[in-house]
Symmetry: C2
Subunit: 390 residues, 2 copies
C-alpha cells in the first residue's frame, strides 16, 4: 500500500487520536486540515507560502482540472505536483460533488454520469473508471471515487438508490485503482438517515480501503444532525484507517469533529472568507472592512506569527481592501491559513499530551463562532459539504 496510517496516541474511551498518514509525497500528522487548491493553486498564494504557513497536504478538484486545463495535459506536463510546484501530498476529490452541484443536466446512468460543463456547456461523460484515470493522470496521492451525491432533503428512496450506486461505483473504483501508484478512499454517504449511514460505513469498510471519507454532511442540516451522523459512521469504520470529513469546516466544527474521531478535513472557508475580509482569531472572526480598523495599528491577533501580522497593521489591510488591492486578499489568506494550521497543531499537541478535553472546553469557551447567517455570507458554499471549488 502506498498510503499507510499509524496511530500515535488515542484518548481512552473516545475516538480521538493523533496519527501519521504516509503518502508517496511525504508524511502528514493528523488530525490535519487540507487547504483547497481548486484550479491547481490555493488562491493567491505560492507553494512556498503554503509551507511557511505550515500546510503539508492540499486538496485538488479533479472535476475542475479535468475541464481546465484537462487531466491528460497535466499528465503530459509532468503531473499536478510538478504543474503547480507543490512537492507535498495531494488528495483529489473525484468530481462527484461538482458534477451534481455545479454542472448542469447531470444524468445518472448505471455506468456513470453525463453532464454539461458549467464553463462552456460541452457534454461530458464520467464513469467510476474514468474518474480514477483522471486522478491517475493528475498523479494524486489519494484519490476519491465517483459517488452519487444528492441534495439535502432527498427522500429515503432516492437516498437508497444513490447509496447502492455509490457502493457499486466504489467497488469498481477500488478495482480500477488496483496496482496503481495512488490509492482510493471510500466515501460514506446516506444523507441524514442513520441506518443508511451505518450501512454505508459497513459496506465501505468491507472493501478494505486505506481510508474513509464521510461525504454529504454540513450541507444545511442542523449541527446536532451533523454530529449524530458523524458519530453513527465513525463507530462503524475500522479504527486503524484515517477518517476524512469532507468540506468541513469552521474552526469550531474542526474541534467538534476531532472530538468525534475525524483525522482529515478540507474546506474553502479560510481562503474564501479571507477574500471577503474575514480574519480568524482565537476569539472569533474579525472583518477587516469594519470601520474600527481604519486606524488600528495592531495585527489581526497579538502573537500571531503569520507574514501579515508580523509585517503590517490592520489599518493597512483595511486600506488595501478599501482599494480592492490584490495584496489584501493575499495577506488575509496567509493569515487564515496560518490560523487553521496553528489550530490543528494545537489540537494535535493537546491530544498527544492527553489534554484534548480541556483544550476543547477552553477553545469553545474562548472562540465565538459567527452566526450561521454571517457565516454563509462570508462563504458562499460554507454550508455545503464538499467544496464545489474555491
Amino acid at each position: 500500500m502506498t498510503i499507510e496510517f499509524t496511530i500515535d496516541r488515542r484518548i481512552n474511551g473516545t475516538q480521538v487520536r493523533t496519527g501519521v498518514l504516509r503518502t508517496p509525497h511525504g508524511d502528514v500528522s493528523t488530525p490535519v486540515f487540507m487547504p483547497v487548491g481548486t484550479f491547481g493553486s490555493v488562491r493567491s498564494v505560492t507553494p512556498d507560502e503554503l509551507i511557511s504557513a505550515g500546510v503539508n497536504i492540499l486538496l485538488g478538484n479533479a472535476y475542475h482540472l479535468y475541464l481546465r486545463p484537462g487531466a491528460k495535459r497535466i499528465r503530459d506536463l509532468g503531473g499536478l505536483h510538478a504543474f503547480m510546484g507543490w512537492d507535498g501530498p495531494i488528495l483529489t476529490d473525484s468530481g462527484g460533488y461538482q458534477v451534481f452541484s455545479l454542472a448542469s443536466l447531470a444524468k445518472v446512468q448505471e455506468d456513470g454520469v453525463s453532464f454539461r460543463s458549467h464553463i462552456d456547456g460541452r457534454l461530458h461523460f464520467l464513469t467510476p473508471q474514468s474518474v480514477i484515470e483522471v486522478q491517475q493522470d493528475l498523479g494524486s496521492d489519494i484519490m476519491m471515487p465517483l459517488d452519487h451525491c444528492l441534495p439535502y432533503g432527498a427522500d429515503e428512496g432516492a437516498l437508497r438508490d444513490a447509496l447502492d450506486r455509490t457502493n457499486r461505483w466504489a467497488e469498481i473504483s477500488a478495482r480500477a485503482a488496483e496496482g496503481k501508484k495512488s490509492e482510493v478512499f471510500g466515501i460514506v454517504q446516506g444523507g441524514m438517515n442513520e441506518g443508511l449511514r451505518k450501512e454505508s460505513a459497513r459496506f465501505m469498510s468491507s472493501l478494505d480501503l486505506p481510508g474513509y471519507a464521510i461525504g454529504g454532511l454540513s450541507v444545511g442540516e442542523p449541527k446536532e444532525t451533523t454530529w449524530a451522523m458523524l458519530e453513527a459512521v465513525v463507530g462503524e469504520l475500522p479504527v486503524d484507517r484515517p477518517r476524512y470529513l469532507m468540506g468541513v469546516g469552521s474552526p469550531e466544527d474542526l474541534v467538534e469533529a476531532v472530538s468525534r474521531g475525524v483525522d482529515m478535513f478540507d474546506c474553502a472557508l479560510p481562503t474564501r472568507v479571507a477574500r471577503n475580509g474575514g480574519l480568524y482569531t482565537k476569539t472569533g472572526r474579525l472583518n477587516v472592512n469594519n470601520a474600527r480598523f481604519k486606524e488600528y495599528v495592531g495585527p489581526a491577533e497579538e502573537g500571531c506569527d503569520c507574514y501579515f501580522c508580523i509585517t503590517f497593521s490592520m489599518a493597512y489591510l483595511h486600506h488595501l481592501f478599501n482599494c480592492n488591492e490584490l495584496l489584501g486578499y493575499r495577506l488575509a489568506t496567509l493569515h487564515n491559513l496560518r490560523y487553521f494550521m496553528k489550530l490543528m497543531s494545537e489540537v494535535r499537541d493537546a491530544i498527544n499530551k492527553g489534554s484534548f478535553s480541556d483544550f476543547k472546553q477552553e477553545f469553545m469557551h474562548t472562540y465565538v463562532p459567527v452566526s450561521e447567517e454571517a457565516r454563509s455570507q462570508g462563504s458562499r458554499n460554507g454550508r455545503k459539504g464538499r467544496s464545489g471549488g474555491e
Copy 2:
C-alpha cells in the same frame, strides 16, 4: 541636503552616466526604474518580493493616498514606509497629473486647484503648500511639486500660462519644503514646444533643487518628438543633478532615454502589462494567453531567475490566467519587475564598463517592441506620461 547625487561614470561626449542617489532611506544606483505603488502597494506583491526582484526605490501617488486613506492618517500610523512595510526610498508624485487627468471639474486658480474626487465626487482644494504638506505627512524621501498639467495638443498660449504657473508653484513648493526632512524636485514642463521646454529647464535649474523631473512627455506624441524634447531639456539641466523622466516607460524607451542622459524612471507598464498576461523577455513581449503556451513546459525566458521562471512553466501560467487565478497576476508581475530591474542593472553595467553604445545597439537589435496599438491595449495609460496610478 538629505538628497545627494554623485556621478560614478560618464560616457565622454554624451549625457550618459551612472550615479548614486543618496536618500534618507538608503542609496540608489542610477539609472534606476521605480515601480509604481499607487495605493501603498505595488499591485499584488509584497515588500520582500520587491527586494528579491531587485527593486530599491518605489513611486507612490500623493493624490491617491491623500484621498484614501488620507495623508494625515498615514502620518498618524507612522508614515508611508511603516504603513506599507517598505524600508527603502519612496518618491511621491504630487498629484498634479492625477488632478488634471483623473479628477473631475479641476479648476485652476492662482493659489491652487480645486477638483472633485474621482471616487466620491467630494470637493477638494490643493495648493503647492498643501501638496508639500501631504508628502511630508506621507514621509516621502523625494517630493514632487504641484504642477499645472495640460493635455497633449494644448496651444502655445495655454502652455505658456500653465508653465508660468508651474514655475510660480515650484518656487512656493521649494520654500514650503525648506528645512523639511525630505526635498522637492523641480518638474520641467512646456508641452512639445522646444523653446518653452528649454525655458522651463533653465527656470527650474535656477531654483537649485536636488533633482529635476521631466513631465508631460510620452503622452501620445511621436517618438521623435519625445526624444527631441528630452534632448532640449537635458542640455539645460545642471549636470550634477539627477534627471527623472516621469511615466516612462517600455524597455526600448528606457534604453533610449538613458542614452540621452536620464537617471530615473517610473511607469505602471511592467505591473499593468503583467496583469493582462504580457511578459517581457530579451526579444520582446510575450502574451501568456496565447494558445501556443497551453503545453509549453519552459519558463517565460530561459535563464531568467525570477520566482515564476525558476518554479513554474508557461503552461501553468497560461492555465492560471485562463481561470482568472490571482496567483497568475502575481507571478507575471514578479517576472516583469525582475525583467525591468535586470535591464537597468545591465544598463548600469554597460555604462560602467564604457560599453553602453554597444549595449544599446545589441538591445535594439534583439528586442522587438510591440506595436503602439498593442502597447496601449496592454496598458491603458501606457501612452500617457505620468502614471495616473496603477
